[in-house]
């Protein structure tokens, strides 16, 4: 129970369904001030108090579990080192994979619980994971990384309901968090300043920004701070010959170089995903499906095939700004088939 409305209603629904529910608030920072202060952080005193009050109202026991060390190691440090390697990680996905459905689930199982119930917007039925009915809130993308074994011990009671209805239900249940604002951004970055957060941990590493021909067109303070497809904040000194906006095409941590170019150079045709996690059997040979390449991102028709433990995805129409480190999640309609980490992309030839 994060202290937000979703996990509160999820707990209430699970308890009402007859489960023996215990509320757990994950303390993700040993110093509550170190990551984020104020409302809607991952680990503030205010949030733990809100969670406790919700548990009181629902009438379930409540405890705070200290998962700060694991979270720091598996999520925060992973986040920093992924950026340092020129990739763009999704920490919510990593938290599901390593904390909620690993550290928390393992501890719960050992202590005699059967499952972890969360306020994620996704539907889970007989091992089949589907998008939540609220399209704007669907979180199947960040859950797809969970293995069938992990999902066998998961409950997502909110997947069949819209967020607006969840808020109304919270109100009806007398939960004070009914109108608490949604969380945004990354829970452990206090002010939403990802670049500042990374700079503090990785230091300043000035290097060149070059165009596709290798001409230096600007300077950066650290290649790690950039994301493929980024346009804002490049502060380029030399305008493009054609005067059109330029985007980050490539980040090379080895040479500490950021390459920029025109928008169409971002178009990706093929994607290689590593460490695929299948929710069923991986089909033999190529098959048609859809793929989503970032949280709440566009969905593309594609042909996918598992080859030598990797996922090869060929898009029907090019996708723009595909960042390595993000997940490529395969869907058949609203049903999740597999998830894998984007390791490499092939651009549309110019």
């Amino acid at each position: 129970m994060s202290g937000g409305v979703d996990s509160a209603v999820a707990a209430a629904r699970a308890a009402e369904a007859g489960h023996d529910v215990t509320g757990v608030h994950m303390a993700l920072s040993s110093n509550p001030q170190s990551y984020r202060t104020g409302a809607r952080g991952c680990c503030t005193l205010e949030d733990s108090r809100d969670a406790r009050r919700a548990a009181d109202v629902i009438g379930i026991p409540f405890y705070v579990w200290d998962l700060a060390e694991r979270f720091h190691h598996d999520v925060v440090e992973d986040f920093v080192s992924e950026y340092a390697a020129g990739r763009t990680p999704n920490p919510c996905l990593r938290c599901n994979e390593k904390i909620k459905f690993a550290a928390l689930l393992d501890r719960g199982m050992a202590l005699g619980f059967d499952a972890v119930c969360t306020g994620h917007y996704a539907q889970l039925d007989g091992g089949v994971l589907r998008r939540g009915v609220d399209e704007g809130k669907d979180q199947s993308y960040v859950l797809a990384v969970c293995t069938p074994e992990q999902l066998a011990h998961a409950l997502f009671p909110l997947g069949d309901t819209s967020k607006a209805d969840i808020r109304r239900e919270a109100e009806r249940r007398g939960l004070q968090v009914a109108d608490k604002p949604d969380s945004h951004d990354i829970c452990f970055i206090a002010d939403g300043d990802t670049r500042g957060f990374l700079a503090e941990r990785l230091g300043s590493a000035p290097g060149p920004i070059v165009d596709a021909d290798g001409n230096e067109v600007g300077e950066h303070d650290g290649a790690y701070a950039y994301t493929i497809g980024q346009r804002k904040g490049l502060r380029l000194g030399t305008p493009a010959p054609d005067g059109r906006p330029r985007y980050v095409l490539d980040i090379s941590p080895v040479t500490n170089t950021v390459t920029v170019g025109p928008r169409e150079s971002l178009d990706v045709q093929e994607i290689t995903g590593e460490r695929p996690v299948w929710l069923g059997e991986a089909p033999d040979g190529p098959f048609g499906c859809q793929v989503q390449l970032r949280a709440h991102g566009e969905v593309y028709d594609c042909t996918a095939e598992q080859v030598d433990g990797e996922l090869r995805i060929r898009l029907a129409t090019p996708a723009r700004g595909v960042a390595t480190g993000q997940a490529a999640v395969l869907y058949q309609g609203d049903r999740v088939l597999a998830s894998s980490t984007i390791a490499d992309t092939t651009r549309v030839p110019a």
Binding site: T22, S30, P32, T44, P61, Y63, V64, L67, L111
Partner: protein, 392 residues
Amino acid sequence: MVTYLDHAATTPMLPEAVEAMTAELRELGNPSSLHAVGRRARRVVEESREIIAEAFGARPSEVVFTSGGTEADNLAVKGIYWARRAADPSRVRVLAGAVEHHAVLDAVQWLADHEGAKVDLVPVDEQGRVTPDALREALGSGDDVALTTVMWANNEVGTVQPVADLADAARERGVPLHTDAVQAAAQLPIGFAASGAQALTVTGHKLGGPIGVGALLLAKPKPPVFLDPVPLLHGGGQERDVRSGTLDTPAIAGFAAAVQATVARREAETSRLTELRDRLIGAVRAAVPEAVLNGDPADRLPGNAHFSFPGCEGDALLMLLDARGIACSTGSACSAGVSQPSHVLIAMDASPERARGSLRFTLGHTTTEADVKALADAIGPVVERARRAGLT
């Protein structure tokens, strides 16, 4: 039915205290008022003061009512520091036992952070005891020491401190001693004058009185060593100008009734609790042979049993016992509900693993054999399960 083994956190109010307090809640009067209505309330307060003074071997004029233990500790630590430093600016050192309650430790730390105090934590032995020799060493000449504070008995592991010997050691160097007797007052005979301490903290709710009232026993000023503390609260000048604020007559009446009843039954209750406590220790050891009893095995609070369960997380043990209707404590401080490793066990040189897997069971006036049996039946399976969950 809950098996309540957390009397050191708070203990049920005694019927005598409930009766005295509720009777007084129906009455009118500010004890500071000069008319008959005020005089009636004043009489209740003064009779209560006399009861408490007598029970703890002090004079009535030495009893200063406060809102509880935390306030009394803060008043003693900060107030005596300010007064002694004002009398001699070279007195800036504060000595505190390493296993003090946070009401003392954090007050002392605040003085270091904001008032230029130099804090020395006096080390304890492996049972959590401050020895007079350790205190003497920390005192040095004592010339630069504003005050010394060492608790009467430890709230976590129950070890009883040699307060009179410590007060002697401090007095030899011309330094006053404050002692937090919040836990001790419920279960041990307390003689304020005989202890040689200048200041002593007691509170109502640990001995069957209401929450929200306590007292600082404060020896008569005897410069240059004993000085009245500089007040934390300024106002109407109540309580010999040391603690302003309208006196809470109902709470004070309830507090005094609880003290009176506790002292009257102490001897019988001490042997009853000691026997139950030893049976509890035996039962836990029988079920979990590798459990480690922390604190002094003999010279401890009669109602305290504190264990480390190797390979277990204290939080997990607490939750599993809670689910079986048994209330106990990990005995350590919380922020956002997360237990920090106990500073008490760490000061006793316990390994981090031993500190993390610790659990405190405390008995009190409502504890029965059935409570001990309930724990005896539950502890084995609970420890086994918590061990499977391991240390996260």
